[in-house]
Point group: C2
Chain length 258, copies 2
């Protein structure tokens, strides 16, 4: 059986093809049109895998752009898809922390991957990928370099949680001659604190599963581990956890249909 999960986020679109137990995936920028991004990323992956569209038994969409997708069989909230995907990747339950381009979520799931409770922030740029973007621009570096640059550095204090006020602090630290890498470490600690501030109500946790685009940043992972006081695990393909969860839902759905 072949199923697909299409996760259209505000910044990037992730598609997973689940071919029996093989996971194939593709990530592309969402750009202006969620509908187009979902369809074209899906088609590109099918082509790359040499898989004819008609062989896909079921397609589930998720993420903020899921409503715009016309070609899917069902839409499932990202909370459920994330939990399902993270559980599959790790084989166990726990607390999932997902930091995406414009939001962050904390999801508590039981040992079977069922959602017990969750919290979400999509109103405030602080503690999301957007915060990192603003700070990277102020520092003149690329977001993808941040993790490497901060590695092993001493975080400087950034007192404001607000992206706008924190950006001014960063600019004034630079003007005072502070080391860029220590500033970045401070920025990472700010993200970790903000997100753990939201997630801690579900803690103390034995371990935290960290997903979303920002989970690629190893320094944020380490800071999150310090804040949470436990191990933070980043599944190998953490960025596509939501799309994988959608593909797993699609498999279940296709099973019922048969």
């Amino acid at each position: 059986m072949i199923t697909a999960g299409i996760d259209v986020g505000s910044v990037s679109t992730k598609v997973v093809l689940l071919m029996e137990d093989e996971i194939r995936y593709l990530v592309r920028p969402t750009g202006w049109s969620p509908r187009e991004a979902g369809l074209s990323t899906y088609q590109e992956l099918l082509e790359r895998e040499g898989c004819p569209e008609e062989e896909v038994n079921c397609k589930v969409g998720t993420g903020y752009g899921r409503i715009a997708l016309g070609f899917i069989d069902k839409a499932v909230t990202e909370i459920h898809c994330h939990a399902r995907g993270a559980h599959h990747l790790l084989g166990r339950g726990g607390l999932v922390i997902d930091i995406g381009g414009q939001d962050s979520k904390a999801i508590l799931m039981n040992h079977r991957g069922k959602v017990l409770d969750f919290a979400m922030n999509d109103k405030c740029a602080a503690g999301t990928g957007r915060f990192l973007q603003v700070m990277a621009a102020a520092l003149g570096v690329d977001v993808s370099e941040l993790g490497e640059l901060a590695s092993g550095r001493t975080p400087l204090d950034i007192n404001s949680m607000c992206t706008v006020f924190a950006e001014s602090e960063v600019i004034s630290l630079l003007a005072k001659g502070a080391d860029k890498r220590d500033i970045i470490a401070g920025i990472h600690r700010s993200v970790a604190r903000r997100v753990w501030g939201m997630a801690s109500r579900f803690g103390p946790a034995e371990q935290v599963i960290f997903t979303g685009g920002v989970a690629k940043n190893k320094d944020i992972k380490d800071q999150l581990s310090l804040e949470a006081g436990c191990t933070v695990v980043v599944p190998e393909i953490s960025q596509v956890a939501g799309a994988l969860g959608a593909a797993l839902y699609a498999r279940e759905l296709a099973g019922h249909k048969q």
Copy 2:
């Protein structure tokens, strides 16, 4: 009797000299050093008025920079000074809404100017002068032009309260060819909603007294009036309400000393 009130805000420093019942004032940017800004603005005003320092009976400081001022007799919180100053300017109590460069406050005072309750936001740039600054920069206009530009226009919807996300909305409205002046009206409505969201717990009010640097923007005053559902009064020298309140406290203090 001559007394002085020195209000060192994050963006501008306001000094009031109260010479019997005459109010003289001066406003200067705060810049990097609150201590220096407070002292130099005070000295400039004394010089302008031809008033020797030793004739000033008492000096009270307020605002975020009040702690740094070495030369004052007493520091009083901005909440109390604002209420006192606004009450003096209007001769009655009510709800004071103050929007400054980096914060906003709502203060409920009784008919004698005594503070009954208050709310304050200095954590989030939304609903403060900083929000207007960011938007003005994105639109390529000066903050001081905003009120005029938006006058009589139809506010466009800006859905995000967050400064960072709202800035993206503004940029995308511009890209879609929306009229700059309608966008600015939308920005003003967003500020009014955010601030009234904080102040409405003290409402419904018979009238609102609007102070702070942002009160100079007539369109925001009108939008605030729509949100609050009542008249919004802007005292003529609304920007110095806090400094005036400090000078009134100083007069009381000097009276006790005699």
